[in-house]
């Protein structure tokens, strides 16, 4: 336990970075997810193709490979982002593919009649999406979205491999000094568990408030 208590400030900084990374990427991935899910159901074939290609590419590449590519390959063609920004972009883009699929599943639960009715009263594609389809579709998949957010939280630990000092990297550094991996990583693991439980609680609350009972 001393190994943990003696390094609370380092671990605390790491925890804050993990929370920041999770919040930023969740917001980014959610926006991307909505856009990509919309592309996948758009009436224009080219847009649907773009949406499908996005999902297939990013669901079929390992996140770590994407991170390493983004951080080390882009600078060779002259594009360099700060490390935190790099990690945030890559994780958001990657998780956006998973969220897009969850959101699309939600959209598929909305009855065809709803879309037809929206069109019948003269709403455009964008309007029917905004006012009819998405509000119902999103509320149907709150739980799956919550699960993806928990996976996203766990995936932020991969940012440690490309130099971002989040919770896992902070735990690594503390362990380097204290040489007590079991105590240090159990502590870090419990912190991740706590964060995941919070996401789960929030999701449950939203689910109870918003879900449409059919």
């Amino acid at each position: 336990m001393d190994a943990l208590t003696a390094h609370l400030s380092e671990l605390g900084h790491g925890l804050v970075t993990t929370v920041e990374l999770t919040v930023v990427t969740t917001v980014g991935a959610m926006l991307l997810g909505i856009v990509v899910a919309t592309l996948r159901i758009a009436p224009v074939p080219l847009l649907r193709a773009i949406g499908t290609a996005y999902v297939e590419v990013f669901q079929n590449l390992p996140l770590l490979a994407l991170l390493v590519l983004f951080v080390f390959a882009l600078p060779t063609i002259g594009i360099t982002f700060p490390l935190f920004t790099s990690a945030a972009i890559v994780i958001a883009v990657y998780e956006g593919a998973y969220l897009a699929e969850a959101i699309r599943a939600g959209i598929n639960t909305v009855g065809v009649g709803q879309a037809e009715a929206a069109r019948a009263i003269g709403l455009t594609f964008g309007q029917s999406l905004r006012h009819v389809i998405l509000p119902q579709g999103l509320r149907a998949v709150i739980q799956p979205i919550g699960n993806i957010c928990i996976a996203l939280l766990m995936n932020t630990s991969l940012a440690a491999a490309v130099g971002v000092v989040e919770l896992t990297q902070a735990a690594n550094t503390v362990n380097l000094i204290e040489a007590q991996p079991i105590a240090v990583f159990t502590g870090a693991g419990l912190a991740y568990m706590l964060l995941a439980l919070i996401i789960g609680q929030v999701t449950g609350l939203l689910e109870r408030r918003l879900a449409i009972v059919r």
Binding site: R40, I41, A42, P43, R48, A49, T52, A53, E56, V57, N60, L61, A65, V68, L69, F72, A73, P75, T76, I77, T80, L83, R104, I107, N108, V110, V112, A115, E116, F125, S128, L129, I133, A160, A161, V162, G163, V165, Q169, N172, T173, N175, L176, I177, E178, A179, Q180, P181, I182, F185
Partner: protein, 322 residues
Amino acid sequence: MSILKMSFTGRRSLALTATAVAVALAATGCGGDSGSSAPTLPGNTGLGGDGVIAQSVYDAAPVATDADIPAGSAMDAIRKRGYLNIGGSLDAPLLAQQNPVSGTIEGFDADMAKLLAKYIIGKPEVKTTTIGTQTREAMLQAKSVDAVFQTYTITPQRATQVAFAGPYLTSGLAVGVRKDETSIKSVKDLAGKTVIVGANTPAVTALPSAAPGSKQIAFGTDPQALQALLQKRGDAYVQDFTLLASGAKANPGMKVVGEPFTTEAYGIGLNREDTQFKEFVNNWLKKIQADGTWAKVWEGTLGSVVEGGAPTPPALGSADGS
């Protein structure tokens, strides 16, 4: 014309999957060329020529007598098993790097492990488990490996968890910079600079006191850290002198400045309870230091990038914690 039905057309999505896979493969292939920078991987210069120990060194290396290996000891178990199970690395040039052609692991640490195996078993049979620096203590405590040969710096804190035979090698942290860098001449010039370090290396803890006010960025592996230096993510790279020297030899874009500013004593990590095994390994180290085997291993590996002859081997037990 439902907006909900149009997204499912089997044939089209199959074609798109194929395209996506092709894109993915192209992306990964690109990474192999530029991302991890395979052609400039430090240490490759040593493969085939220097960096490899002559077979005669193994042939001449000592073998323990039966009296040295009591029945029921850890050494006895290793001899019966037929190979030494060690924890180490495959990506540390000149220390323990796997030769992509022959598959054998070459370098100072790897050769020391082979010589210990020869001493116990009579032939240099080693099985290497690649382990992260985070889990060395846990692996030794659980007896998942017999010993750790991985530039394992002896520290008093670590010595409360594991036993260290040795030190078997000393080195120190030094500063690497890009070739065109002129303002950094030693560690003293690092104040206020951004410094790249290897995650889980002694640099992480040594830098704040050696260069107050410097900012750290840590990368998981040595090739990544080198790449980050060349891509100007930091002004300098602080790492063990031997690793920097081999990096500089392979990468014309970087150089090593100043002398090492710390002294790192590397030990062979062993299970803390087994004092008999530690004594046995220390006796073996004494033997190979005395008969010149140690110097031959050093010259064949690290000596291929460091000027001057083999240094005097470190005195056993000289590091705090060994």
